[in-house]
């Protein structure tokens, strides 16, 4: 457990307020901006130290962009991100680089996220070099430890990424993220590209590392079952906005937002008897484009409960009993 001052314990590790990220679309001869892709359209949440916060949603909902905007890999269009009390947007590039020791990212694609021209030992050790954290024999020792921590054979440090399977490469990516001893890790779809049996191993690795190193995760995925298994709390996103924040234990029994409910019903449970007993909600239509989101509540075009109010006025994220936050007029 963290032995720290009361203040530090109480303060959330990550605070996001009204985060927005728009991508401009240029067209025409002079390449003028004609519209914005509103990838993230005003979201707020906070993550406590040691918590695993899940972020779930379908493609185009903005979850990956959120992860990157939080880490300032994509500069937010507006909004506030505070990491351990410090405002990230206001930092100079070198200050930001220094803070990166404490907040890391694990990528979705184990093939593209490792430099094919570097031996894996160097890849894992790069944070140590960049921040001057270890040299010489201590450097070698730390790399060996990192390899062992992610269950890779330390004798493999001279090999190149293409010699490893997908799951092993993902372990290399995790080791790299752990090298600078961060307190916060954003996991962007870390197991979507892996086989079912390997995904289970890696999920277990995440859980073990979290417990051993007291890590805080922002776990981004589209697979609700996985997110629920790993997270303490879950935020459901739709078209750039958070529609519900709920504790994972309550997800099954007490989801309130219609989108969350339809998402739950769309995910089949690998147990035909149990699955048949579940409620089925089929949504109409497709996810609208983030370039031209619907007016009012962005979900109204597919919502079985939509009314005029929903078409005209966007709802706000409001707290409910049991620590839940829901953004809907009819809940």
């Amino acid at each position: 457990m963290n032995v720290a001052t009361d203040n530090k314990e109480a303060r959330p590790l990550l605070e996001v307020r009204d985060l927005k990220k728009y991508f401009p679309i240029h067209a025409g001869f002079m390449q003028r901006k004609v519209a914005d892709v509103k990838a993230v359209d005003g979201i707020s949440f906070s993550i406590k130290r040691g918590e695993t916060f899940g972020l779930v949603g379908e493609s185009g909902c903005g979850k990956s962009t959120t992860g990157r905007a939080v880490l300032q890999l994509q500069k937010p269009t507006s909004g506030n991100v505070r990491f351990d009390g410090q405002d990230l947007a206001g930092m100079s590039p070198s200050q930001l680089r220094s803070v990166r020791k404490h907040m890391q990212l694990i990528f979705q694609d184990p093939y593209a996220s490792l430099d094919p021209r570097m031996p894996v030992g160097d890849i894992v050790g790069e944070p140590l070099v960049v921040h001057g954290l270890a040299k010489g024999s201590e450097y070698k020792e730390r790399i060996a430890n990192l390899f062992a921590m992610v269950e890779l054979d330390p004798a493999m440090t001279e090999r190149y990424p293409h010699e490893f399977s997908g799951g092993q490469r993902q372990r290399v990516g995790i080791a790299r993220a752990l090298a600078s001893e961060p307190s916060f890790i954003v996991c962007d779809e870390p197991i979507s590209a892996l086989d079912v049996s390997v995904a289970a191993q890696i999920t277990n690795l995440f859980i073990r590392l979290r417990n051993e190193l007291n890590l805080t995760y922002l776990f981004i995925a589209h697979d609700l079952s996985v997110v629920r298994n790993v997270s303490d709390r879950i935020a459901v996103m739709y078209l750039g906005r958070v529609v519900e924040i709920i504790e994972s234990e309550l997800l099954n029994v007490h989801a309130l937002h219609p989108y969350t409910k339809s998402l739950l019903s769309a995910v089949p449970v690998p147990d035909p008897v149990a699955d048949r007993k579940r409620e089925r909600i089929l949504l109409k239509g497709e996810v609208p484009s983030p370039v031209n989101p619907p007016s009012g509540c962005t979900f109204h075009t597919r919502c079985p409960m939509a009314t005029d109010l929903c078409r005209n006025k966007p709802p706000e994220l409001k707290p409910h009993a049991s620590g839940q936050w829901v953004s809907c007029h009819h809940v």
Binding site: R100, H162, E163
Partner: protein
């Protein structure tokens, strides 16, 4: 962390433990098997280069050494005949190899350096800087290389060093486009983003992550440019604007007086022309082969050193998973 099973890398058992040495053998093997023309091209050019370097030892006559046999056809003493001043054509061609290839290689090396400098910075920095530089490159490339080199000669003058500089400038700027394209495509890779995420400075990313990954492109550009440089030098010498006489560069040998005597002593133009053509063809073939061999996309999942990684064909076919 008690009973943790270590995940062993499943290496290709056929892959030898010493990767680097065999990689070159591997590469040459593939070159010969898959691109025989490229291998031939490489061999021919290397042979001529060696001839050129050891010209003093190999050539039977001096490069400017006149004999009393004017314009004599190929014979025992003069393998390829003599020219109008009685100089041995064979010897001059060997000396010419030295000039043409050395000038060609130096100019190409310099040109490639410019291409990388301009292309990498432009592609990496992006934004306004990139736009301005690219417009400049547009303007430069609008002028054909030969005309450009003529313009540059009017600035720098003639002579060996000047010729090298002129050719390198004329070729280098255009090549920056290709380098920039390569840099842009590398920049979009996740591992570059990973570099930023762990806190690498821009400089480190450029040098440690981007440049090594465009190395293959750069080498290919270099190889393909060599033939262009040789041809340009030949053209400039042909026009009398390259190296001064008694320059035995092949282009020079093709020009002026040789043309006048083309029908009387065809061997004076035939041999320089053939050699020039062969080297240009050879380097082109090799450059194409190199590009095919080094391009990871064309290899379809085969590893960096030409070895298939320990995955299954089907895993790659089935790879795309949900977003």
């Amino acid at each position: 962390m008690t009973d943790v099973k270590l995940s062993k890398s499943s290496p290709d058992p056929a892959m030898p433990t010493d990767m680097r040495g065999s990689a070159i053998r591997d590469f040459l093997g593939r070159l010969v098997r898959e691109h025989p023309m490229g291998a031939a091209g490489l061999l021919i050019t290397l042979a001529l280069l060696i001839l050129g370097i050891f010209a003093d030892l190999i050539a039977p006559f001096g490069l400017n050494e006149t004999t009393s046999n004017f314009m004599s056809p190929p014979s025992g003493a003069h393998l390829l005949g003599t020219d109008n001043l009685g100089r041995d054509v064979f010897s001059r061609i060997i000396y010419g190899a030295r000039i043409s290839l050395v000038v060609g290689l130096c100019a190409t090396a310099l040109a490639t350096f410019y291409s990388v400098l301009l292309g990498a910075t432009s592609g990496f920095i992006g934004g306004r800087f990139d736009v301005i530089v690219q417009r400049f490159v547009d303007a430069w490339m609008a002028v054909p290389a030969i005309i450009m080199s003529l313009l540059l000669i009017s600035v720098f003058g003639t002579g060996t060093i000047q010729t090298i500089i002129v050719i390198s400038l004329a070729l280098g700027v255009g090549g920056s486009r290709i380098v920039r394209g390569a840099v842009l495509s590398i920049k979009s890779n996740a591992y570059v983003e990973a570099g930023v995420a762990i806190g690498c400075s821009n400089g480190r990313i450029l040098i440690r992550h981007i440049l090594p990954n465009i190395a293959a492109t750069v080498v290919t550009i270099f190889t393909l440019r060599i033939s262009e440089a040789i041809l340009m030098e030949a053209a400039l010498s042909f026009l009398g604007l390259g190296l001064p006489p008694p320059n035995p560069s092949w282009g020079a040998m093709l020009s002026g007086t040789a043309r006048n005597y083309m029908f009387l002593a065809p061997w004076m133009v035939l041999w320089p022309g053939i050699v020039l053509m062969t080297v240009v063809w050879g380097m082109n073939m090799f450059g194409d082969a190199l590009r095919d061999l080094l391009d990871p996309k064309l290899r379809g999942g085969v590893g960096r050193f030409g070895r298939r990684a320990p995955k299954h064909t089907e895993s790659e076919v089935e790879r795309s998973h949900a977003k």
